[in-house]
């Protein structure tokens, strides 16, 4: 099996792929980026926490015009994962308003987005319909 690397460092690969957030040790605010301090309470200390791998579509759009190299149309969404909001694409679903709806239940899924010159696969993530 080819070496794999996650598309972003907050995607944890392995047997149970999941997202990992930086949680403020003082107020519990969650972030996905490298932090200098907490935007809510200014505390500079964080711990890694696992984010729920299932959630509900809180907002979506079907993007028809995107940057060069991005296949369109695709569904961009914000998923509420048990109180933590996550930005992602919806995958493994037809990108049209008949198949995507607000409030639909989804789960995290990974997909290989490409292979580099060393043969390493980059693995991205999206959400797919639950029970789909």
């Amino acid at each position: 099996m080819a070496e794999q690397i996650p598309l972003v460092d907050y995607l944890v690969l392995g047997d149970h792929p999941h997202l990992e957030a930086n949680e403020c040790t003082a107020c519990g605010a969650r972030f996905f980026d490298r932090r200098n301090a907490c935007a809510a309470c200014e505390n500079p200390e964080f711990k890694k926490v696992d984010v729920a791998t299932t959630g509900e579509v809180r907002a979506f759009t079907i993007v028809s015009f995107a940057a060069p190299g991005i296949p369109v149309p695709f569904v961009a969404t914000v998923v509420d994962c048990d109180g933590t909001s996550v930005r992602a694409n919806l995958i493994n679903v037809a990108p049209d308003p008949e198949h995507v709806s607000l409030g639909m239940k989804v789960r995290l899924a990974t997909e290989v987005i490409g292979t580099d010159d060393n043969g390493t696969e980059a693995v991205g993530f999206g959400f797919e319909p639950l029970g789909g």
């Binding site: 996650p6 972030f31 759009t61 028809s64 995107a66 149309p73 961009a76």
Partner: protein
């Protein structure tokens, strides 16, 4: 000299026609707006004590000084500002703050943009794609994330903002958002300065090119060239000017700029709601004006999906009631709270830095009773709103002179 309790007034204001100006550069457009505003106010560069100069796409350039070099170098301080789509409002705030602080009794603000022919804005930073995966940036990304982890394109971001509102409160649909666009395109037919003045039917709007569902092309703000400028004067200085100047002056009853306070999800999908609501609340408090007092509103309809949420954020309707409010006809020009009688960003156009002063020009022109065919009869109080992602929100409340 002005003091902290000083009133703020618009003495002169001007906007260029929005659209394509291939023969004019940034300085030409800004100069036209600035000379227009100075002439409108009956003053010259020699009367001005400070300049707030707004431009986004060429933000590294000393735009204010470039305009001074064409129109009058008087040695006064220039603040070149950029604040996304709130750049114009930010430039105006600079002039307002300087007058309010008593540093000068007259300030100038302008915003200018050359944007005709620009394509899709934001999104698409492809630079991190390389031959070997190497983590970059604050997400340790090995490839560009726009389009792979949601969208950073403006039509897509604002589409989700409208959809999120629908998810929370219900009542929205593709057709409802398209009807908002139908209203603004209809309004634009009366505005000779709008970039696009063509009436569009609901069918035409819904069947046009889909950009980011549910926003089709005519539901997106129109990239174009344009500039707008305003002269801000203190209340005490205004009293020393001619009766004609006093009569045409428009009172700035509130001038507010906010950023987004932290909330869950605000760094995932920009939250344009809370900072707008905060700005509106502060503006109503500062002015003593209630939403029901407003005779017209120019709000930031960068996309049809955005206009809907701002009915609610600006408290023009009950919380959660934006769809019903729109369906009642309230925001058409013959409704109870006309919104975007200029045609809005969807048809008047959105030369980014000019927008936050052009909307002040629109409201001021109605308050002066000079809006001709599209005049809202008897307009005495109006509100303007812009939002720049990042985020910054500018809200101004304007009132007709008592005289």
């Amino acid at each position: 000299m002005a003091s902290a309790s000083e009133e703020l007034w618009i003495l002169g204001i001007h906007m260029t026609k929005f659209g394509k100006h291939p023969d004019k550069d940034l300085v030409d457009l800004a100069s036209e707006a600035v000379r227009g505003a100075l002439a409108d106010g009956g003053v010259t560069m020699k009367d001005i004590g400070i300049i707030g100069a707004g431009n986004l796409m060429m933000a590294m350039a000393p735009t204010g000084q470039m305009v001074q070099k064409q129109l009058g170098q008087t040695g006064i301080p220039v603040y070149n500002v950029s604040n996304a789509c709130a750049t114009g409002a930010t430039a105006l705030r600079v002039a307002c703050m300087a007058v309010k602080a008593g540093e000068t009794d007259m300030g100038l603000a302008f915003g200018v943009e050359k944007l005709a022919g620009a394509g899709l804005l934001a999104g698409g930073n492809r630079s991190s794609d390389s031959n070997t995966w190497t983590p970059h940036g604050r997400f340790g990304a090995v490839a560009a994330v726009d389009g792979r982890i949601g969208t950073e394109t403006m039509p897509g971001v604002f589409a989700q903002i409208g959809m999120e509102y629908g998810h929370k409160y219900g009542g929205t649909s593709f057709e409802l958002f398209a009807k908002i666009s139908e209203k603004n395109h209809s309004h634009s037919t009366l505005n000779p300065l709008a970039a696009y003045t063509k009436k569009m039917s609901l069918d035409e709007i819904m069947n046009d090119v889909m950009i980011a569902y549910p926003n089709t092309r005519p539901m997106c703000s129109a990239n174009c060239d344009g500039a707008a400028a305003a002269v801000v004067v203190s209340g005490s200085k205004l009293k020393t000017l001619s009766l004609e100047q006093q009569k045409r002056a428009v009172k700035i009853s509130a001038s507010i700029l906010t950023t987004d306070p932290w909330e869950e999800a605000c760094q995932i999908l920009p939250n344009v709601n809370t900072l707008t609501r905060n700005a509106a609340r502060q503006a109503y408090e500062q002015s003593g004006v209630a939403p029901s007092d407003l005779n017209l509103v120019e709000l930031h309809d960068c996309f049809a999906t955005a206009e809907l949420v701002h009915y609610d954020n600006l408290m023009l309707c009950e919380e959660g009631g934006a769809a019903d409010f729109f369906n009642s006809g309230a925001t058409w020009r013959d409704g109870s709270t006309p919104v975007n009688v200029s045609g809005g960003l969807e048809s008047k156009g959105h030369p980014i830095a000019a927008t936050g002063i052009a909307n002040i020009w629109e409201v001021a022109t109605h308050l002066r009773g000079e809006a001709k065919d599209r005049q809202i009869e008897g307009a005495k109080i109006g509100l303007t709103h812009v939002i720049g992602l990042g985020s910054a929100c500018g809200v101004h409340i304007l009132e007709k002179a008592a005289a």
